[in-house]
């Protein structure tokens, strides 16, 4: 039997996805799950804006509002933006460097299931006594005082999901270091691979502080610890430090891959090599490094004293320099190019002014004395939505259109794509631009309502109308996806025609073993070089056709994660229900048991034989 002939029923397909270790299928799952959480987070955003559309509104109650804002922030950051980016990293990065798969396919699956179960656990709080309500930052004095189990769901859910992210980050690092195709030197790596690399390095160093903070919180809330209880010698400011030592690099973990996506788009749709490639790489690394030096700018008003504030203020301003370099390099990339305004390019063009606006307000906040006014006001809300929506979300939407043909061999409708863009883009500016002024006019953030006649009524209404526009944009996108999937017209490879990097060279649909022969990389934008030289077969290859070694599918990652999911309920109800400890032990036993099985049982994978490969047309 040929090892690559496949025809499956529905049940078999489900089983295939539950057990898959293929980076392309894991990418699809990241995208689907992240997309679902994005919609949930978006609905929460709509509820927030409906509540704040008019003064003294009682659409939602005060306590529920705090749950909604907490879940909106937590969901969007941890369960939507990061996983969707992880989806694109999984889908694109291994192909960009000509790898067979990621370095540890088993861990890749484990990382995904950890994220998904963590996210599900967190969202179950809605149905099990109430969601967390101390904000996505969950500052310790409030999170310790919060009644019910909401914060417990937050701490345990994020701990599980965070482990998945951490595993994913390490996996990408090892992949990029070890599995680049021959000729793919570091300084020939596409920018998206570079930004994946740096973002993964940030994950490596930024997630441990969060893990520690969350463990402290878990111990304090569920097991009688006193790390943050000041009446018992603890200190709440420690949480703030741990959170932001993680939290600031986190925003670069999000924005750097976004920069990578836009770098690809600008070059592709300008038919021009990325301007100042080496300085772009340098700027990426520098931003990643400086990202660890500035966390206390989230804490200017905590009372760290003028020296700490002054140092962190100046350090923060320094980040503007490499970020500015990037902006100008992008501008010079399109300058002198041949600009084709496709949907992805439209997002990239929309990103420049939006992100510059978000960046400059960041510099304003870096001025510590001014930040005393801006901090925790609506100005901050406007600022971080300008960078996260104007940067990360626009990149995600651009990448959905850009990489859809790569992932699914179908083109999303360009027409609907542009409608999505205009609704989303106009709605975005309508919603958030005006919030800068609300903040300057004295409106604090995270308020469930506001009194009439404080000068905020009209601007809040405008902001809410903008949010509705964004929702319409997202709905059009969903319609676009459904239509495209139903139509299922094959797009073929290099659908944008000007593909420059290796991922566009692969035949469609992408064979599960990726490149039949590992390609030889002859420079930056290697596929472009081959096309310019008239290479009709796609790439120059670095090896003769030979057997390919592939990993076996495995159900163990799923079971391993399920164990932690069960254990989390034991921890949650510790001291409250009799079954808590047995359930905790059972869950951990399942996880440790599956780890043992994985370690003891040999799994050598399988080989695809040369003859089968020769017969396989690779989707032509």
């Amino acid at each position: 039997m040929s090892s690559i002939a496949k025809k499956k029923g529905f049940g078999a397909t489900i089983w295939d996805y539950l057990t898959t270790v293929d980076h392309k299928k894991i990418a699809v799952m990241y995208l689907a799950a992240g997309g679902l959480f994005f919609v949930i987070g978006g609905i929460e955003a709509m509820l927030i804006r409906i509540q704040l559309a008019q003064p003294d509104n009682d659409f939602v109650s005060a306590g529920l509002f705090n749950e909604i804002i907490t879940m909106h922030g937590t969901t969007m950051i941890f369960l939507a933006a990061m996983p969707i980016l992880f989806g694109f990293m999984n889908a694109v990065m291994p192909l960009q460097i000509g790898a067979r798969d990621v370095a540890f396919p088993f861990l890749n699956a484990l990382g995904f299931w950890l994220f998904l179960f963590g996210g599900i656990f967190l969202n179950l709080s809605w149905f099990m006594g109430g969601a967390p309500d101390a904000g996505w930052t969950s500052y310790a004095s409030l999170s310790l005082a919060s009644p019910g189990h909401g914060i417990d769901f937050y701490a345990l859910g994020l701990q599980i999901a965070g482990a998945g992210t951490y595993i994913g980050g390490i996996n990408f690092l090892v992949t990029i270091i070890n599995m680049r195709a021959p000729g793919m030197t570091y300084m020939r790596m596409p920018l998206f691979t570079w930004t994946t690399f740096v973002a993964s390095a940030l994950i490596l160093f930024a997630f441990p502080p969060l893990t520690i903070g969350l463990f402290f919180l878990i111990l304090d809330r569920m097991f009688g610890g006193n790390f943050f209880d000041h009446t018992m010698g603890g200190n709440t400011i420690i949480w703030e430090h741990l959170f932001w030592i993680f939290g600031h690099p986190e925003v670069y973990i999000l924005i750097l891959p976004a920069f990578g996506i836009f770098s690809e788009i600008f070059a592709l749709f300008s038919r021009k090599r990325l301007f100042g490639y080496s300085s772009m790489v340098f700027a990426t690394v520098l931003i990643g490094f400086l990202g660890f030096m500035v966390w206390a700018h989230h804490m200017f008003t905590v009372g760290l004293g003028p020296t700490a504030n002054a140092i962190f203020a100046v350090a923060t301003m320094a980040i503007a320099v490499p970020t500015g370099m990037k902006i100008f390099n992008w501008l010079l990339t399109i300058w002198g190019g041949s600009i084709k305004v496709t949907t992805p390019m439209l997002y990239a063009l929309g990103f420049i002014p939006s992100f510059v606006a978000g960046g400059v307000t960041g510099i304003m906040q870096a001025a510590a004395p001014l930040d005393y006014q801006l901090h925790d006001s609506y100005f901050i809300v406007a600022h971080f939505h300008y960078v996260i929506v104007g940067g990360v979300v626009l990149a995600i939407l651009a990448a959905v259109h850009l990489y859809w043909p790569l992932m699914f061999n179908q083109m999303l409708s360009e027409k609907l794509g542009k409608w999505t863009f205009w609704f989303f883009f106009i709605g975005f500016h309508l919603t958030f631009f005006i919030q800068h002024f609300l903040g300057l006019m004295g409106m604090p953030r995270r308020v469930f309502t506001f009194g009439a006649n404080q000068g905020w009524d009209l601007f809040n209404l405008i902001s809410s109308i903008g949010a509705a526009f964004m929702a319409v944009g997202v709905i059009i996108l969903v319609v676009n996806i459904i239509i495209t999937v139903v139509k299922n017209v094959p797009a073929g490879n290099d659908p944008w025609e000007d593909g420059r990097t290796l991922e566009w060279a692969i035949p469609q649909p992408v064979p599960f073993y990726n490149f039949k022969q590992t390609p030889l990389v002859r420079g930056l934008d290697t596929f472009w070089i081959e096309k310019q030289e008239g290479n009709k077969v796609g790439m120059t290859y670095a090896e003769p056709l030979s057997d390919i070694h592939m990993p076996n599918n495995s159900f163990i990652p799923f079971v391993m994660t399920l164990g932690l999911f069960i254990a989390a309920f034991g921890a949650l109800y510790h001291g409250e229900k009799d079954w808590a400890i047995p359930v905790l032990v059972l869950g951990i036993a399942i996880t440790v048991g599956s780890m043992a099985v994985r370690s003891i049982k040999d799994d050598h994978g399988f080989h695809i034989h040369k003859e089968d490969l020769m017969n396989d047309k690779g989707g032509k």
Binding site: N66, T236, Y277, G305, P306, P369, D376, M441, P444
Partner: protein
Amino acid sequence: MKTTMKEGFDLAMMRGLKKWRLFSLLAALTIFLSGCGEEYLSTLTPAGQVGRDQFNLLLLSSAIMALVIIVVVIIYVVALVKFRRKKVGEDVIPKQVEGSHTLEIIWTVIPILLLIVLAIPTVYYTYKHADVAAMDQVDEEGNKTNVTVNVTAKLYWWEFEYPDLGIVTAQELVVPTDQKVFFNLKAADVKHSFWIPTAGGKMDTNVENVNQFYLEFDKESAGLEQGVFYGKCAELCGPSHALMDFKVKTLEPKEFKVWAESMKTTEHVAADDLATKGEEIFNTSCITCHATSGAGTAGGPAPNLAAFGDRNRVAGFMPHDEENLKNWINDPQEYKPGNLMPQPETINNGKKFSEDQLDALAAYLMGLSVEK
């Protein structure tokens, strides 16, 4: 809308800013920005030196950033107009430029210079606004020369103690104008943040340590729309975070002295029978938590009501009338979810207060005044 053009210009003409070449941009910005917001609440209508320093920093940083945006937008628009594929031709392969060292240096050095321009006042004001050395200054007789207020933030109200004057009040901060007023800030339960937007930036009230800073007020609040500046809690602290407002009354130093003296010697005499009846109810049900004498120290379990009749709001956020007061007393949870005031049932033999009781309480409470 309330600031005139002349005032707008005056602000921009601040010494030190004069020399910036960005002057005209600054002036335009000032006029634009000061058109926004209410003068008792907006950071754009500063009412003291600290707020003004911060406002000037806002203008300076906005101007620098506007400059950056203009440059970016110009390059962006020109590139977009000139280099569309429709224009350059469908089959043209542009020159594959690697980069330019000269340009790289330009867009590295110029931003650094711009940031230095911003960094200098940033560092200067950071130290200036943190300087609380004058807090302990005394005159020849050993009296403190400046007013210090100990602020304690509690689930959802504010306690203001004047340790050198031996008085305490709540919800409505009273301060003298034209001098530095120092603050010791602390939270009693969870973290809050103390913010009077017109006077200057916020400072967190932590649970484990005292934060110190100062503000200045150079305008009497009497001239404002409601006779008070608005204060806000700026850190999420629970369901009623949004309702944790306070008000600030600024008096010229002489009047402040008079106010402080009358706070020290609060002697409330119920005005009529109804108020006397209210006082009796108050003394049975409320006095365990609420003090009615302004002399004292911080640490009360509930807001001090010595000057309740003079206040601007009921419960910190509702219009100050008997109707709201009665509603509030009879169902605090309805109006400020999560607050710690007992429901009437727990202090009134398991029942809500009757309408008569409420009338009496309201009459008594509205009569608690030091200004009348």
